[in-house]
């Protein structure tokens, strides 16, 4: 019985430990964009560091939750294969549709509406930021 209680405590401590790691990872992902510009060197740009702290850490967090809290590490392989198949479907759908959304022209086609909207929105944002800077400038002096 004593052994049983010990196992019980051990498992609870394991879950709390995983939760602690998840919180540390959360803090790193929040701080990522703040510290990234200071860590730049050579080919390693700030946006790459932010991508790593945002999505690299998200993948690690998801793995920790799936393996330890959902017990995927001790679940029958059938489940992992099924989940992996669904993820493959997702990638397939992405691959099938993304060229139409991410590109705005090809050899024989052009998405005039999308290009016009990007141009309009960027021009509007440019004006707005000029306006803001102007206002800040005036307020500052």
């Amino acid at each position: 019985m004593a052994e049983h209680t010990e196992d019980h405590d051990h498992e609870q401590a394991h879950y709390v430990k995983i939760w602690g790691i998840l919180l540390v990872l959360l803090i790193i992902s929040v701080l990522g964009p703040v510290v990234a510009p200071h860590l730049e060197f050579g080919f390693l740009k700030a946006w790459m560091i932010t991508l790593m702290t945002a999505f690299g850490i998200a993948i690690v967090k998801a793995y920790l939750v799936a393996a330890n809290f959902m017990h995927l590490n001790v679940e029958k392989k059938y489940i992992s294969y099924m989940l992996a198949t669904m993820l493959m479907f997702m990638l397939l759908f992405f691959a099938g549709t993304s060229p139409d959304v991410m590109k705005h022209k090809g050899q024989n086609w052009e998405n005039v509406a999308a290009e016009a909207e990007i141009e309009r929105a960027l021009a509007e944002q440019g004006e707005a930021s000029h306006g803001e800077h102007g206002a800040e400038h005036e307020a500052g002096h």
Binding site: A62, V65, F69, I118
Partner: protein, 192 residues
């Protein structure tokens, strides 16, 4: 009691209990639902440079706090499962209520966040980014609310020591909802 159960509840070709297998298949289909939504968000975000400015108005503190709340509620859910495994229905029910409280806090924070954003004119029709923002986070929030309702029903049974295996099932679903948020958080709040 077991005599009244349908055959499908007790037989298992995979060696996995039927209820658990069903939850995993629900999650499998949810991966395609949320995965499709997030994948189309990513392709639109990459294909439209003006979205960077739209996305810069989300508040990472709201998102970060909600991530903390959901991660903590996931810990409570797995502790509920642990208690149920020991046959302790009362403790399992208490952890499930705590998990549910986490879900309620999450929804409350979301309500405050959305109210502030809508007051600033960032509505679902403001532009493509905000349409995705409310659709993705809204679909996720619906899953949180649905999970909470199911969890309260299961907690009520667990308290009486009935169907304790269901504590694990709702836990698996809850962790999945947590994982969806783990990806929504950097997509909507961090990678600006």
């Amino acid at each position: 009691m077991s005599m009244t159960k349908p055959i499908a509840t007790t037989r298992s070709a995979t060696g996995i209990p039927t209820g658990k297998l069903a939850v995993w298949w629900v999650i499998g289909s949810e991966i395609v639902i949320f995965g499709g939504l997030l994948a189309s968000y990513i392709m639109h975000r990459l294909g439209h440079p003006q979205w960077a400015e739209y996305a810069s108005h989300t508040n990472a503190w709201f998102g970060g706090t909600n991530t903390f709340v959901l991660l903590t509620s996931s810990l409570f859910a797995v502790l509920a499962h642990h208690a149920a495994e020991q046959g302790d229905g009362k403790t399992a029910a208490k952890w499930l209520w705590a998990t549910c409280a986490g879900g309620a806090i999450f929804a409350g924070i979301k309500a405050v966040e959305w109210t502030i954003e809508i007051q600033h004119g960032y509505t679902i029709t403001a532009n493509g980014f905000w349409s995705f923002y409310y659709t993705a986070a809204g679909l996720h929030a619906l899953h949180v609310i649905a999970g909470c309702i199911i969890m309260l029903i299961i907690a009520n049974d667990a308290r009486k020591g009935i169907e304790l295996h269901r504590v694990e099932l709702i836990g698996i679903y809850w962790h999945f909802v947590d994982i969806v948020w783990i990806f929504l958080f950097p997509l909507l709040y961090i990678a600006k």
